[in-house]
């Protein structure tokens, strides 16, 4: 087990290194940020001065070395746009993203799991079709469109909800629903397919033959096992919701990490983009690592095979 964990941690560190190199190079091929921080017409000396301030005049490998060594000491640099340490910015926005992601996740599970169960139990029937339509819409309707329609209906016409910003539960409802619907669709589809597989298994058939009530068969015997992949997916989705809810946070002016990333990309704010991507990626790597270890702990075949 110890060897398994050491190997997995090694893979995770390698993934993190590759991620940091990729994002470091990727943001730099998108263009020079100084061109966005001055009006066209600024003198070349002033533009060069700005490049020096940001350290962009140094060779790329020197820039990466400085980035990597600072990262190890917990310093992810200073935002070009905000002139503030990016970690400070990240942690200022994190509570808002956690709040939005938590509510969106609860909504997505509350919608996705019951509708997935219903679709699996009534396979081919009305509820199955309704569930499929619902999930198709959730996955295919663009979030900016859903967000704007909600704003128009609930804010402008009905006047029930604030159009944007943060502050209270009312501010959360529309962005959380918009974000949650997309993921609810994914959770619904996975719950449905997982339930169909489990409902067809021998032990469920046995439970039915024993004359257990259908609700008990589904609720106790089938659902427990069917939910394992859904919970795993939900864990990964939660990290995605926290870090890359770019569209929802922009449409609803929600001050989270997704919007920070959007601002970082818009202004070529390399340190901000690097910080969000590396920290978001780290979260996913850690979640995957924990899941791998947990699986290996539960099922010895996994650690023996690997």
């Amino acid at each position: 087990m110890k060897q398994f964990i050491v190997r997995r941690v090694g893979y995770s560190l390698l993934s993190l290194f590759l991620l940091s190199v990729t994002i470091f190079l990727f943001v730099r091929v998108t263009g020079d940020p100084t061109t966005l921080l001055v009006e066209p017409g600024a003198s070349p000396e002033d533009i060069e001065n700005m490049r020096q301030q940001f350290g962009l005049d140094r060779p790329i490998w020197v820039q990466y070395w400085l980035f990597a060594t600072s990262f190890v000491t917990g310093d992810l640099g200073q935002s070009f746009y905000y002139r503030t340490p990016v970690l400070e910015l990240y942690f200022q926005r994190l509570p808002n993203s956690l709040q939005l992601a938590a509510v969106a996740m609860v909504l997505s599970l509350l919608i996705g799991i019951p509708s997935g169960i219903l679709a699996a139990v009534r396979v081919g029937g009305f509820w199955d079709s309704a569930g499929k339509t619902f999930s198709l819409l959730g996955l295919s309707l663009p979030q900016f469109w859903v967000g704007l329609v909600l704003i128009l209906f609930f804010s402008v016409y009905l006047g029930w909800l604030p159009s944007s910003g943060s502050g209270g539960i009312l501010h959360l409802l529309m962005p959380a629903f918009t974000l949650g619907w997309y993921f609810a669709a994914a959770h619904m589809r996975l719950t449905r397919s997982s339930m169909l597989e489990v409902l067809d298994s021998e032990y469920v058939k046995l439970a039915r033959l024993k004359g257990l009530p259908e609700a008990l068969v589904i609720g106790k015997h089938a659902l427990k096992n069917a939910l394992i992949p859904v919970i795993t997916l939900a864990g990964i989705n939660l990290v995605v919701m926290i870090n890359v809810a770019v569209v929802v946070e922009t449409v609803f002016a929600w001050p989270g990490i997704g919007r920070l990333l959007y601002e970082g990309i818009t202004f070529r704010d390399f340190p901000v983009v690097q910080c969000v991507v590396v920290l978001g990626g780290s979260m996913i790597i850690v979640v995957n690592l924990l899941v791998d270890i947990l699986y290996a702990y539960i099922d010895p075949r996994i650690r023996l095979e690997s």
């Binding site: 921080l37 066209p40 017409g41 926005r93 804010s155």
Partner: protein, 517 residues
């Protein structure tokens, strides 16, 4: 337990529900208090904008500087360089120094009096986009008495005031003692200035709260509290304005501007910025290129239906122009009004040997203004100039433009501050960052004006230079873009358009809500 048995009826439940919904709706409406003005900003506010020392070369930070700080001289209604913290500024006859007489009794938000020490400190501390250009030319600053100082230059520099009091934050004054006491980071977290509004709080990505500074020297602001809320999406900003969650919403364009006009109680306030847009012909110096022929360039200009473009994209509020120099710039020469005459354009093309028109290749533009390019393309096609739209992402576009990699037609623009000489330096004169070539007569005039300290003579030279730019059809100018913003029903004086060429609402001390003076 049923509803009836607990003493409640279905009706009372409904009444309670309705009351709750009304409460929710009222809370959700979040209308501003009577003495508070809420502004929806289209961009995220950066703490670096609270500090005049760090102004980059863009106009946006001045949206906040006008509220929190004050300058020795700055653009004000009716005067692009109005004396503010300085009562006067006198240039020495040799052009080597400028003496400032400061206003007495001006106080910063912490109660300290502003003195010459603060002015000197602010100039020396400035490290913004144009710091190099400025500091290389400033030799030293001498303080004669608490309210009088002289700035010495190495050589005569006619554009000193343009840089010091216009294009940079060097002339915006911060309190020396306070900055030294709290440090650079501390200053950005709790800035103190001499402007009409003092800093209260800032939540990154959310809002900035300011409160009226009653001791402001010019006048006491009419509105007690200003809140800048960041709402990046244009449609959401409009929704917030329609719901009266904000009183002013910056940047509402195109169809959304039309929707705004259809909403009772809202008004659209255009502010014509100092940002002319143009078509540039980078290959005009290549004898093999069709653009080498002045008639082809003139035909291009004649083919542009500027009025229709203006109506379609900015509701007719942009200022059509025949110049790449902004109208509000010092030394501006007003060119003839640009004409729309497709027949004349076709005739000129025929004379130039393009009876059937020609394939002109790609039309490069900043993707965020590709909507202008789409209309222009149709205009050009009507006279036989066939081009393909090639929008580039903003940074990539300006990089390629500056590196002189673009060909055929370039749709350019600039909102850089300065005067006609600084604009010519970048876009017309030899070696200019965005000049792909130049003409000897224009270069000679440019060199001549750079050392001319007699204002009248310099004006004449720069007028001649602009005339030549127009005659040679180096550019086909389109318009000075109007920045469209929405104003809600509570606002009395919105401040839009009061300062020529300034896109945002200002001066803040002049803003009023209805029912106020």
């Amino acid at each position: 337990m049923t509803a009836r048995s607990s003493g409640t009826t279905r009706r009372s439940v409904l009444v309670l529900s309705a009351a709750a919904m009304t409460g929710i709706a009222a809370r959700a409406a979040g209308a501003a208090p009577q003495d508070e003005l809420r502004v929806a900003s289209h961009v995220s506010l950066a703490p670096t904008w609270f500090d005049p020392a760090e102004t980059p070369g863009i106009i946006t930070p001045f949206m906040l500087l006008y509220a929190m700080h004050d300058a020795v001289m700055k653009g004000m209604p009716g005067n692009p360089m109005a004396p503010c913290l300085a009562e006067s500024c006198t240039m020495a006859p040799d052009g080597l120094s400028y003496t400032l007489a400061l206003r007495r009794g001006v106080r910063f938000h912490n109660g300290e009096e502003m003195t010459a020490e603060d002015v000197k400190f602010s100039l020396e501390r400035y490290r913004g986009a144009a710091s190099k250009s400025l500091k290389e030319r400033v030799a030293r600053v001498d303080i004669h008495e608490p309210h009088r100082l002289t700035i010495h230059l190495h050589n005569p520099w006619p554009d000193f005031l343009t840089y010091y009091a216009g294009a940079t934050g060097a002339g915006w004054i911060v309190p020396k003692k306070y900055v030294e006491q709290v440090g650079e980071d501390g200053f950005k977290k709790a800035p103190i200035g001499a402007g009409p509004y003092r800093f209260v709080s800032f939540t990154p990505g959310v809002e900035l709260v300011l409160e009226a500074f009653e001791g402001y020297w010019r006048k006491k602001p009419a509105i007690r509290r200003l809140i800048f809320k960041v709402i990046p999406d244009e449609a959401t900003r409009l929704a917030a304005l329609q719901r009266k969650e904000v009183d002013i919403a910056y940047s509402i364009r195109g169809e959304l501007a039309g929707e705004l006009l259809r909403t009772p109680g809202l008004s659209l306030n255009p502010a014509v910025s100092s940002a002319p847009f143009w078509l540039y012909f980078p290959e005009q110096w290549d004898p093999q290129s069709p653009w080498h022929d002045r008639r082809v360039r003139q035909a291009t200009s004649l083919a542009l239906d500027r009025e229709t473009i203006n109506q379609a994209l900015t509701m007719g509020h942009s200022r059509l122009t025949g110049s790449v120099f902004p109208e509000n710039f010092e030394f501006y020469w007003p060119p003839p009004k640009p004409a729309y005459d497709p027949d004349a354009a076709r005739k000129l093309l025929a004379e130039a040997g393009h009876q059937r028109g020609f394939d002109a290749g790609e039309y490069y533009c900043d993707a965020s203004y590709a909507n202008i390019g789409e209309v222009v393309l149709n205009n050009l096609r009507e006279v036989g100039i066939r081009v393909k739209l090639r929008p580039l992402e903003r940074a990539a576009f300006f990089k390629a433009y500056a590196e002189k990699k673009l060909k055929n037609i370039v749709q350019g623009a600039s909102g850089a501050m300065g005067n006609c000489a600084t604009r010519a330096e970048a876009f017309v004169a030899k070696g200019g960052v965005y000049a792909y070539g130049s003409y000897p007569d224009i270069d000679a005039l440019f060199a001549e004006q750079a050392v001319q300290t007699d204002r009248a003579k310099r004006t004449a030279i720069l007028h001649k230079l602009q005339q030549l730019v127009q005659e040679k059809a180096i550019y086909a100018p389109i318009w000075q873009l109007a920045f469209l913003s929405g104003v809600g029903p509570r606002v009395g004086q919105s401040g839009f358009g009061l300062i020529d060429g300034f896109a945002y609402t200002a001066p803040y001390e002049d803003l009023t809500l209805k029912g106020q003076g």
